[in-house]
């Protein structure tokens, strides 16, 4: 399983590194979206630093959707699906590999966006550093969930538009927990309960992925 996971993760990251889409397209998009969200809310709300964590997660969510879609689209080029299916890769490994690659990509984006929200939304730097571990875990959970949902949507009609519908409700609790724990890190407050939610989500999605990804791939 781990062998396949490394293999798949390596392949995904290599394709990503080659196309530079993350660097040139996804990251700028995130930064602009952050700026725009600030704008859309107007100075009163955006200047208000309590909006920082919420906006950060909102933008991360949209970025994650783009990246999940890309990650699954790789497997869905005409013909690719059939050929790869006949390799008979262990689905648990494929799931782990794709989730891993997505995690790495989301971490990179997340760090840049955190930097952006410190600069642009006046979120406190120290608070943000404190929130870092919880952000990383939340992003990993997003990646695991996203890989699962991504596999659900592919192959049907208009996967790029189906994905958001399916994932948003699932991401909502993650979003809230992430935002709460980030806010708690900023303003002080009970952290651990949000941690529990996020960690449980990560473990649950990973477990479900390992167990059920095979069912999704069979079709």
């Amino acid at each position: 399983m781990t062998r396949v996971a490394w293999l798949v993760a390596g392949k995904d990251l290599r394709i990503e590194a080659r196309s530079r889409v993350l660097l040139w397209q996804v990251l700028p998009f995130g930064v602009i979206a952050l700026l725009l969200s600030g704008l859309a809310l107007g100075p009163t709300h955006a200047g208000n630093s309590t909006a920082g964590p919420g906006l950060f997660y909102l933008v991360t969510l949209f970025v994650a959707l783009l990246m999940i879609n890309r990650s699954q689209a790789l497997e869905n080029a005409p013909g690719t699906r059939a050929s790869v299916a006949t390799l008979g890769l262990d689905p648990a490994g494929v799931f782990l590999g794709k989730a891993l690659a997505l995690t790495v990509e989301l971490w990179i984006t997340g760090l840049v966006l955190l930097g952006g929200s410190v600069l642009v939304l006046h979120t406190s730097l120290i608070g943000t550093v404190h929130a870092l571990p919880s952000v990383l875990v939340t992003l990993a959970a997003l990646a695991a969930a996203g890989t699962l949902y991504g596999a659900l949507t592919q192959g049907g009609d208009g996967p790029a538009t189906l994905l958001p519908v399916l994932t948003l409700p699932a991401f909502a609790p993650l979003l809230i927990a992430g935002e709460r724990s980030y806010s708690a890190a900023l303003h002080g407050g009970a952290l651990w309960e949000w941690w529990v939610i996020v960690v449980v989500a990560l473990v649950a999605y990973t477990a479900v992925g390992i167990l059920l990804y095979g069912v999704l791939e069979e079709s």
Partner: protein
């Protein structure tokens, strides 16, 4: 089991897609180590048949046993691992080079990495090993597909119009490959519009009409 020799056995196999019967009751038996050619008019169901055999589509009704796997409730992944598939489309990660694609396959199958180089050489792609797959020409993509199969070495080869877009040298190579493969004991099912050119082996012919075998 009586059909120890049969790698493929379909009884009244029906495959529906959105209510349309791609296959409308196919009976088919293919022996181990044989070469079969499926012919038929456009839209007769050749591609659908091969997809069913590869475990890529599922059986709606009827019975099927392919490479020891029952199509009703058997482990389709096991089946897929035993077949090699060459479809109409180039079948790789378009952003990886020819070599990287094959290396991925070799690693996935735990084959030694040096097979990749020799497979690429055999199909005549040595001067394009580092070109990304999406930049290859149609025929080169076909050849890469053959190289992928060389690395795969499956027991059941399912080839959908393998001659299309191969040049003369490619076809000669392919015919020779077929002979080798069959001699080594693998089973081959191909769909074709062109007559087979290889002299060495005598294929079994199947003709499809309207989603099933023509009763001769």
């Amino acid at each position: 089991m009586p059909g120890d020799q049969a790698v493929v056995r379909l009884v009244n196999a029906v495959v529906l897609s959105k209510g349309f019967p791609l296959l409308s009751g196919v009976n088919l038996e293919v022996d181990r180590g044989s070469l079969s050619v499926v012919t038929g008019a456009n839209g007769a169901g050749k591609t659908s048949l091969l997809r069913l055999l590869a475990g890529l589509d599922s059986l709606t009704s009827g019975e099927g046993m392919v490479a020891g796997v029952n199509l009703n409730g058997g482990d389709l992944r096991l089946l897929r691992r035993r077949v090699g598939w060459l479809g109409h489309e180039g079948s790789f990660y378009a952003d990886l080079s020819a070599r990287e694609n094959l290396e991925f396959a070799a690693r996935a199958l735990e084959r030694p990495a040096d097979e990749v180089g020799s497979a690429l050489e055999r199909v005549g792609l040595t001067h394009r090993v580092d070109t990304t797959t999406k930049q290859l020409s149609a025929g080169q993509r076909r050849r890469l597909g053959l190289a992928w199969l060389l690395v795969r070495r499956p027991e059941l080869w399912l080839l959908d119009e393998p001659y299309a877009s191969l040049d003369d040298a490619g076809r000669t190579f392919f015919d020779q490959l077929l002979r080798e493969v069959v001699a080594a004991g693998a089973t081959v099912v191909i769909s074709a519009h062109d007559p087979l050119r290889s002299g060495g082996i005598s294929p079994q012919h199947f003709h499809m009409v309207g989603g099933r075998m023509r009763t001769t």
